[in-house]
Symmetry: C2
Subunit: 352 residues, 2 copies
């Protein structure tokens, strides 16, 4: 068994849960390889082996899309949201970036004995508010209590069900694709980092961006579906991880222009002061799209019209001049140079 | 907010996660009441408010059934299985008792930093083995790591998707229904109790019964669907909790004959020695069915033919002679008396 870094110790390390390449290696080697049945193939679907945000099956002329995510964030109440807000938004966004309209949600909640019932109430309030605002039904779930000391406060698993009238988006970038981010990056990760470091009072403007993209981004994906080659919400691992995943097994390079990547000054300065590259920092209210160049400007305009006023083209997929740049993400620097962008996530243990 | 026992302390107690009436009260008061959208109604479905094992929507002429469950069991390896075995069986069984054929599974795994990779491998081996044996695809999931000390070893959330060509079973017992259990009861709870008490070596014959019911019980449910008014796998809280839930809001009584309830002597004696009523103890490989009396014997025969050789009729739904017996479960005793069976679960904090 080969599980990336530290595997010689036979121990799961925090990095295995970072959302970066080590997480992929665990999933591929311990989980995907064990599963010979590709039922989704016989049902015109796509499943686990795609390692996308979700999976789908086709039933009559509809595609049913499924996704699931666990949320372990610490603190559970943070600037800009709470674990319920995050869980509902995160699951809905995984459906949105598949191009599916979320219709139903199931929540599995595990809490520590002694957990405050009024805090649980607030968290459920957040979940149901997000669902109601986006016309998504809470159709099931589970509730468990673990003894004091055996779980830190609360873990939420969310399952989302969505519908699409067309084939859902399984990420596959093509040469010439333009890359669009829909909003300022790195806000969520910066907020959790500030919280964990006890720096919230010094950086009151830094808040998680966590929000559902059902009303702003989904309509654009639905309208331009045929021009969209890939879509993802860059959570754990940030933009850098998604871009690297997309380009890794291709013969292309992705070139991005750092100066085109929308980021608020407060967030940028805070992360700079800590030596953290914003490209490695989680967003929770942003989508990254790879779209055909002919419609890229139009899509940005449409996103802006829907309220995503910071949407911006940040780069493109190119045939590289040199062979060693294939499968890599290259950033243009402020001084005209270029650097390779590696998928090194800001590895906060409980970022989402 | 009214949340049953101890609510004046604003604290979640272990009893809230027992699967008994306190769990129902938390779910109803903190979760169900917050959800005005009943989307499943417009999609010919049934959802959270049914408080059944799962929920469903109708798409063209198929019913898609969904269920989710979290598993926190301690120990994670126990006589008769492990947490992976339990998670896969438990989720599949929730679909089976809806009458749905499981087709797909998603697993959300949260582990503690330092967790053994070979243990994780064994657990995934169990999950995938159960899925493969039952022709169910693993189509997605999530993997997270929490820092040492913030979660005890591992928590698994499973999400199951099933299909039925008829309306799935939403439990609603009717007068005259016969109650059938498909196998010996109380095995799982007894095994976990023995483990937790360090008594495994003295009771080597006591093992969890955890197993999927896809091959033995589902074909019978599919064949006799129209004669089945209710079906449930009596996990947390055991038979007593399910029977009480079924009868609670009706004008009927459920009468059961303790001597007809299949239980192995080892399990009965072990529980008797501890003063625990087997009716309150979890099963993980048993279904409880409420069926029309005309076909009850036939169904038992069919179950036996499929390998459920201990299947047995244990009681029936009756119009009570006295008003105060309405909505209650009555057990006939060995000496010809009768006692009310209350839903008091064997409240092991991490039984599943």
């Amino acid at each position: 068994m080969k599980t990336g870094y530290f595997s010689m110790f036979d121990k799961i390390m925090l990095v295995h849960g970072s959302g970066g390449l080590e997480t992929l290696s665990i999933i591929e080697e311990i989980i995907v390889k064990k599963m010979p049945i590709k039922l989704w193939n016989t049902m015109n679907g796509v499943g686990l082996d795609a390692l996308d945000d979700g999976c789908y099956i086709k039933i009559s002329d509809q595609y049913l899309v499924f996704t699931s995510d666990s949320f372990t964030i610490n603190p559970i109440f943070f600037p800009g949201g709470d674990i319920g807000h995050l869980a509902a938004s995160g699951v809905l966004n995984d459906l949105v970036v598949m191009g599916a309209r979320p219709i139903a949600f199931l929540d599995n909640i595990v809490v520590e004995e002694g957990f405050s019932i009024s805090d649980l109430d607030k968290i459920m309030e957040s979940i149901t508010r997000i669902l109601v605002e986006n016309n998504v039904a809470l159709i099931g779930g589970d509730f468990k209590v673990m003894p004091r000391g055996s779980i830190d406060k609360i873990v939420i698993s969310g399952f989302g069900i969505g519908i699409a009238g067309y084939k859902p988006i399984i990420d596959k970038i093509a040469k010439g694709d333009k890359l669009i981010v829909t909003n300022n990056i790195a806000e969520h990760g910066a907020a959790i980092l500030a919280s964990n470091l006890g720096m919230v009072d010094n950086y009151t403007s830094i808040k998680s961006d966590c929000k559902p993209l059902v009303k702003t981004v989904l309509p654009v994906i639905e309208k331009y579906r045929e021009y969209i080659d890939a879509a993802r919400d860059p959570t754990r691992g940030g933009l850098a991880t998604v871009l690297n995943e997309w380009v890794l097994k291709t013969k292309y390079s992705i070139v991005i222009d750092r100066q085109q990547i929308p980021i608020r000054d407060d967030v940028r300065l805070f992360l700079e002061a800590l030596g953290v590259d914003p490209l490695n920092v989680a967003c929770e209210g942003v989508a990254l799209l790879a779209v055909k160049p002919t419609v890229a400007d139009e899509i940005v305009d449409e996103l802006k019209k829907n309220g995503e006023v910071n949407a911006s083209i940040i780069g493109e997929v190119v045939e590289p001049e040199e062979d060693y740049l294939r499968g890599r993400v290259i950033a243009l620097t402020e001084v005209g140079g270029r650097v390779v962008v590696k998928p090194n996530p800001l590895n906060l243990p409980r970022i989402c």
